[in-house]
């Protein structure tokens, strides 16, 4: 017999049952709010279909003005039903109802096929163009209507329950904070404030169905918070004020309601690991994201000694062939795990890697690693560094042999990984390194602390910077809070890459496109699409004050210049021929003081230990 492991995931277990029916006790009376909510939801779906039918008629007779006004009318029932649609069928919502208007690989199929986006965002973009493609819009509207019709039929047989409503509302609030009020959702119509109002109105109406069921104090408080939201305009809306004065208090009350009414968490309803801790009350709380989801190591399976061992390995050149390069060579802890070089150099300074060293403090929160997204988990990421001839130029057999000859490592691996048949193996090395990376995120920057303490009175320049970041400057349409990386809310399960048209240097007047093709050449067949040429991972900007130079090639030296790059609309905005650029090429028209405020905000995202 070789190894005996508790085969948890693998094998059926035998199960015994005994009956103790003396535990029977009466259950509370059946409540009606869910019935009411469901009836209302189905009614709104019918309205939505009627609106889309009307839109289709207007498109048929090519009446641009009417089509646009009916479209905006249709957004009302859309926004009313959105929070439940997105929660009950996330795939349908993301793929057919409200997909981002970009070409992408067809998901979940083995073959390489291009997927053309559908749904509201695409319609929004096409309908508000100068020259309208009525035929294409008709096809899209019809498709959308069919999808909603089918969805409604399915919904009729689904039973709603209270916990579902609470979780759907929390997710919707997160969605409007991260995608709605940032303008992500309405690329052309600029309807985001009206959408936001409709979403909130619908959520409030839904919650008010629970009058008499949930505590009246809590219901009154929630209502007051919703009513206090000032829907000014996209340009002037105080996103920071909304975050700390309304959003977080509302989330806190919802969580209190959930606990008081013994409603189950999403974790209790779902056996899979989830990216979000469903009991969250603040998007900036340190455990908002469930770090175990990203590494597949539960916090309880890691101890301090393993983190220490990981740190020791991280800093030890023993991992490289010539004993002169460690992870820390390019990822220096003191400067947020970067090396402040345009492109990193190996230990003996003979070779330069092909890209800039990214910061690691929050790097764990991703679905893929490297600027070209070629590694789909951390072990694979380590493998690339270990085997890369410009980096460690080594292999696991050599590393294991070296570690086995070191009494200190021998003892540490033995005491930490005694349950493995070979304590020093690629499995334990990976575990230790992962454990160390998992220990890095702190979420304790000046800005985090302000939000965590719901401080409304913050420096006005910082407030302006955050509001610009989340609004006019459009930064948050790619750098999503709270990691401010391309990890897309509200699911936080996918990392995005973008085509920005990054140049070889800072000369924006004479733009020369960087030669690096990025994602298209990452070796993954399903990434080998034209629209992934010059596409790079959207990394976190936390600690960016320490990580200059910027971009995948280190071509921009200062934050001010980075902001200028975006203000000009990236490479395309500077006149390069880059049809697949995903960054809008229109200038942002940021004033000098606005640019300064943005820098102040970015600088407020530095962890407290720096």
């Amino acid at each position: 017999m070789k190894y005996f492991f508790p085969i948890i995931a693998l094998v059926s277990l035998f199960l015994f049952v005994s009956s103790t029916n003396d535990l029977a006790r009466p259950k509370p009376e059946t409540s009606f709010p869910t019935l009411q909510i469901k009836a209302q939801f189905l009614k709104q779906l019918t309205q939505l279909q009627a609106c889309l039918e009307k839109l289709n008629q207007a498109l048929k007779i090519k009446n641009k003005k009417e089509a646009r006004s009916i479209y905006l009318e249709a957004r009302i029932p859309f926004k009313q039903t959105e929070f439940l649609m997105a929660y009950l069928d996330p795939q349908l919502y993301e793929r057919s109802i409200n997909e981002s208007p970009l070409l992408k690989p067809k998901p979940s199929v083995a073959n390489k096929e291009t997927h053309h986006p559908e749904g509201f965002q695409v319609i929004d973009e096409l309908l508000f163009e100068e020259q309208i493609d009525f035929k294409q819009l008709q096809v899209l509207t019809k498709k959308l209507n069919t999808q909603i019709e089918r969805f409604q039929v399915r919904m009729e047989s689904i039973r709603f329950y209270d916990a579902l409503i609470i979780h759907a509302i929390k997710e919707a609030l997160l969605r409007s904070f991260t995608l709605g009020i940032t303008g992500f959702d309405t690329p052309a119509s600029d309807n985001s404030m009206e959408d936001f109002r409709q979403t909130n109105q619908s959520i409030l109406t839904t919650l008010l169905s629970y009058k008499g069921y949930f505590s009246s104090n809590r219901m009154a408080a929630i209502e007051a918070h919703f009513k206090a939201i000032e829907y000014t305009s996209f340009e002037t809306f105080d996103r920071y004020g909304y975050l700390v004065r309304q959003l977080i208090p509302i989330l806190e009350i919802l969580e209190a309601i959930r606990v008081a009414n013994q409603l189950e968490t999403k974790e209790e309803l779902n056996r899979l690991m989830l990216p979000l801790n469903s009991t969250f009350t603040n998007p900036f709380q340190a455990d908002f994201l469930n770090i175990s989801y990203y590494t597949n190591l539960s916090n309880s399976s890691i101890n301090l000694a393993q983190i220490e061992l990981g740190k020791q390995l991280f800093n030890d050149p023993i991992l490289s062939d010539k004993l002169n390069t460690s992870c820390a060579t390019c990822h220096n802890e003191k400067v947020a795990f970067t090396d402040q070089l345009e492109r990193s150099m190996n230990g003996d300074k003979t070779k330069t890697t092909s890209r800039n060293a990214p910061s690691l403090n929050y790097s764990v929160y991703a679905s893929a690693y490297f600027y070209d997204l070629r590694a789909h988990d951390l072990k694979n990421q380590f493998d690339h560094v270990i085997h890369n001839e410009k980096e460690f130029n080594s292999n696991y057999t050599a590393i294991i042999n070296k570690l086995n000859q070191d009494p200190d490592y021998q003892q540490k691996f033995k005491s930490n990984y005694s349950q493995y048949p070979h304590p020093i193996s690629n499995a334990s090395i990976n575990h230790a390194l992962k454990s160390y990376l998992m220990s890095l995120p702190r979420f304790d920057s000046k800005f985090d602390q302000f939000v965590q303490t719901k401080t409304n009175n913050i420096p006005s320049e910082l407030r302006q910077g955050f509001n610009l970041f989340m609004g006019k400057a459009q930064c948050a349409t790619c750098h999503f809070p709270p990691t401010f990386s391309g990890l897309v809310p509200p699911a936080y399960a996918d990392s995005e890459s973008e085509v920005l048209g990054v140049l070889t240097n800072e000369d924006f007047k004479h733009p020369i496109l960087d030669e690096d093709q990025g994602r298209i050449n990452n070796g993954i067949t399903k990434d080998n699409f034209d629209f992934f040429a010059n596409s790079f991972k959207t990394v976190s900007i936390r600690n960016a004050a320490l990580t200059a130079p910027y971009m995948h090639n280190g071509s921009i030296k200062t934050l001010e210049k980075v902001i200028e790059f975006y203000d000009l609309g990236g490479g395309l905005g500077m006149g390069l021929d880059l049809p697949h650029q995903t960054l809008p090429s229109d200038p942002l028209h940021l004033t000098p003081s606005e640019k300064k405020a943005l820098v102040v905000f970015v600088e407020s995202l530095t962890d407290s230990n720096y």
């Binding site: 094998v11 059926s12 005994s18 103790t20 509370p28 069928d89 083995a110």
Partner: protein, 608 residues
């Protein structure tokens, strides 16, 4: 048994269609009342080989001395060779579905073999030390292809005969030498080897001395000797195809072969003499033929064997959409094979269709009656695949079990059906007391259309058992017996001839899984001869239970759909399940739990 039935009968459900059920976050645990225990589970499971982690003994290759190296991974097919001397249980042969070249092991994929015994007291499996004729000594041995038949690659399926002969399928279809550029690409002479001195003396009668391009020496069924861990010969006379599986019939002359390709042609070989597969005739299946359904392709003509697919198209052969494994029911004369499917196969077979190849009847029926289209039309889909039945007496090929059910969009895990069969791949039989059970391994081609619940990006593949005495197979009749680790394909399932143990591989799991589930594993589940009898007994009494234990399932079954909460021993709520009639509890740590239903009735649940 009887006592348990009566006790459980005391509990009943009142189902309330639209009611809102609240489960308290904690309850008062009560341990009184009767506890009725049933005998402990007869099932035991053990990991016996970790691909890419355990070390193997390799022969001298490419001028390097024989050495001990880390084995390859991506464990796929498992062959079983019984020890007729009775001294040991037998030899296990594992395929590695890899394509990377490795100077130490000498090939793209390859195989690992080892000898096992059964512990007489516990019935568990032990890997035994061996010393081979070539002097290698240890537990795990790399099969030497390079020095015997030339390199191999992407060893996926294979053939494991009743008397223990093993063939490995080289699925890695190469179109020219550029496809194997990182390897030796000099001309290859069958029976001699390559011009630069690489020897491969294990030739093939009738083909020896024939010189072929190096890439043309891939993609055969290759016989190996699992006892000495060396390759014997490439089966040049079965054609050069992207092979996956095969079955040798009891006459020891007829071989049915499956090919993982779209289009795939179902192939038959009939040997002149029993047990000698070097001489005989090769055929392809033509379902629409009048008279004999088998068209011979001359296997003495190398150009025809090297271009087998073109020959099959020219002969108007019947096309399938990726045929995977094939197995004969030990208790009937029928054979079963998996057609794993390809999402939109039109572009793969429309040209061949135009050139004269034909579509299978079940394909045409699905296209016209279910989808209102034609198999050559780009909107024809085959997301889930199926299990086919072939009757060697009548040469009839029919669909036995269709995968599915079909979803336009994947439902989330809360609304996901309990059984969903997608892309059946590995297939074999478990034979217990004269009763056959079909073992079906999933290998998902994608995650769309309900193949996994929405929001789950990793593929989760499952191993199902189907009782062949059931004459009306549906997906809901399948019993799930094992789930591979996250991201892994489950494959290779083969039962030991005594029906006690199933050997299974968990292939290419997510490397972020906890050890050892981040490696390709070969594991053994022992105790089947006792458990399948137990399943049948419980199923007989199923109607009377509100919920019941099932010895081979990971699952608590309820009589009706409802809401249930699971509490731990301290009465803390752990999980809430809504709108279900079965709950998977395999992830729960062994111990005592409580289940509460929507009527507020709490019952004790012991997970072991």
């Amino acid at each position: 048994m009887k006592k348990l039935t009566l006790l459980l009968l005391c509990v009943f459900f009142s189902t309330t269609g639209f009611s809102q059920i609240q489960f308290n976050a904690s309850i008062q645990p009560v341990f009184g009342a009767d506890t009725v225990l049933m005998p402990p589970s007869p099932l035991k499971s053990q990991v016996i080989f970790i691909g890419g982690y355990d070390m193997v003994e390799a022969t001298a290759v490419y001028g390097q001395a024989a050495q001990t190296v880390v084995s390859k991974d991506w464990n796929d097919f498992i062959g079983f060779t019984p020890d007729v001397s009775g001294q040991h249980l037998g030899w296990i042969s594992i395929n590695h579905e890899k394509v990377v070249s490795n100077d130490n092991l000498g090939d793209g994929g390859g195989m690992t073999t080892f000898l096992i015994d059964r512990d007489t007291l516990s019935d568990s499996i032990m890997v035994v030390n061996q010393t081979l004729l070539d002097g290698r000594s240890g537990k795990f041995f790399n099969v030497d292809f390079v020095n015997h038949t030339g390199e191999t690659g992407m060893n996926c399926g294979g053939i494991s005969t009743a008397d223990g002969r093993i063939w490995t399928a080289e699925e890695w279809f190469r179109g020219d030498n550029g496809d194997i550029a990182d390897r030796d690409t000099s001309l290859f002479t069958i029976g001699t080897g390559t011009a630069n001195g690489q020897t491969a003396p294990a030739g093939f009668p009738g083909w020896d001395g024939q010189t072929i391009e190096k890439y043309q020496n891939y993609n055969y069924m290759t016989e190996i000797d699992p006892k000495q861990a060396v390759a014997i010969r490439k089966q040049y006379n079965w054609g050069r195809q992207a092979f996956e599986g095969g079955v040798v019939m009891p006459d020891n002359r007829t071989v049915y072969l499956t090919v993982d390709d779209t289009p795939a042609f179902f192939t038959k070989f009939v040997a002149d003499n029993a047990g000698d597969f070097t001489l005989g005739q090769t055929y392809i299946y033509k379902q629409d033929a009048v008279g004999s359904k088998w068209v011979e392709i001359d296997n003495t003509d190398p150009s025809k064997m090297l271009n087998f697919k073109s020959e099959a198209v020219a002969a108007g052969g019947t096309m399938f959409n990726r045929l995977e494994w094939i197995a004969k029911d030990p208790n009937s004369d029928k054979i079963y094979l998996t057609e794993t499917g390809r999402d939109n196969p039109a572009s793969r077979w429309a040209d061949e269709s135009a050139a004269g190849a034909t579509h299978a009847i079940h394909t045409l029926n699905r296209a016209s009656f279910v989808q209102g289209t034609h198999p050559d039309s780009s909107d024809y889909w085959d997301y889930y695949g199926r299990v086919l039945q072939f009757n060697p007496t009548t040469d009839a090929m029919t669909s036995f079990l269709e995968g599915g059910p079909h979803y336009a969009n994947s439902p989330d895990s809360i609304h996901y059906p309990y059984n969903h069969l997608s892309n059946p791949d590995g297939l074999n039989f478990l034979n217990v007391n004269g009763q056959s059970y079909l073992m079906i391994c999933e290998d998902l081609n994608g995650t769309s259309h309900g193949r996994v619940p929405a929001g789950l990006s990793d593929r989760t593949c499952e191993l199902y058992l189907f009782d062949m005495s059931d004459n009306t197979p549906t997906v809901s009749d399948l019993t799930r017996i094992s789930i591979a680790a996250k991201g892994a394909e489950i494959t290779g399932a083969i039962a030991s001839p005594d029906g006690k143990t199933i050997f299974v591989n968990s292939q290419h799991p997510s490397s972020s899984n906890p050890f050892p589930y981040n490696y390709s594993l070969t594991y053994a589940i022992t105790g089947w001869s006792e458990s399948v009898t137990a399943i049948k007994e419980i199923k007989k009494e199923q109607g009377d239970y509100d919920f019941y234990p099932n010895p081979v399932s990971r699952t608590v079954f309820f009589k009706k759909v409802g809401d249930f909460a699971i509490y731990d021993i301290h009465g803390r709520r752990l999980e809430v399940h809504r709108n279900v009639n079965q709950i998977d509890v395999a992830h729960l740590v062994a111990g005592t739990y409580f289940i509460q239903n929507e009527a507020g009735i709490t019952k004790k649940l012991i997970v072991q």
